[in-house]
């Protein structure tokens, strides 16, 4: 029998994988893809809790969160294109302009 615990365990697992990706990768695009994984782990947790409590509020939050994620991706990719124009690279290592 599949309980909500299974879904939440999957959500935690996906969150961990996404967070590891954010910390380990050096390519901006790969970091952004890992951020998407983290977003979706959170969405899965929201839908699971919506089912657990028998209310639809969690699913409405997921709809709003998907919209926010789409807006975030738009701006982040625009910034990526600008960074590539200025640095000719997608690596995060040369990006230390704000380092004191």
């Amino acid at each position: 029998v599949i309980t909500p615990f299974h879904y939440l365990a999957l959500s935690v697992l996906l969150f961990g994988i996404g967070l590891a990706g954010i910390l380990i990768r050096r390519n901006i695009l790969l970091i952004l893809l890992s951020v998407e994984l983290v977003f979706n782990a959170a969405n899965l947790a929201f839908v699971t809790f919506s089912r657990l409590h028998g209310s639809l509020d969690g699913q409405v939050i997921v709809l709003l969160s998907i919209a926010v994620a789409a807006a975030e991706v738009t701006v982040a990719l625009a910034i990526t294109v600008v960074l590539f124009r200025n640095f000719r690279s997608l690596q995060t290592d040369p990006l230390d302009l704000l380092k004191g």
């Binding site: 969150f15 979706n40 709809l63 990719l77």
Partner: protein, 166 residues
Amino acid sequence: MLEAVLFYIFAGLAVLGAIAVVSFRSPVRSTLSLLVSMFSLAVLFLTLQATFVAFIHIAVYAGAVVILFLFVIMLIGIKEKEKARPRPPFLAAALLAVLFLVFLAGKAVLAIISANSGSASQSAVGSAQALSALLFSEYLLPFELISILMLTAIIGAVYLGTRRET
């Protein structure tokens, strides 16, 4: 029974896709792995009876986000690969931090589950009708704010994207 089979197949696919996203060095392969993971998650949303969310999820992620990523990769050039391997101590610290966080989250999930185990879950089907009734009454203000956020994001992206002659 069917739910169990679907869950194990698509949870496995989602995890495999996620691992592939963070382990491939080529951005194109990572993006396509993200698509696998997103599709599996949409099936899991269906088994959780969140039908509308599942279809919106496919439409937004497969239809918009992954395509946007591919566009940017094509724009920048797919030759760009990750060169420097992360230094081993950094890698170990990152994995340790993630493991600790997963441990904490697992404890929290267990606490929540044991606190909620008494209440039987009623069935709430997330149809488009039910969700929109909620979205346009109780969540009207966040909904409108989201549209303002989207507009801001579009303007910001266009501003960042235009090449300025200076």
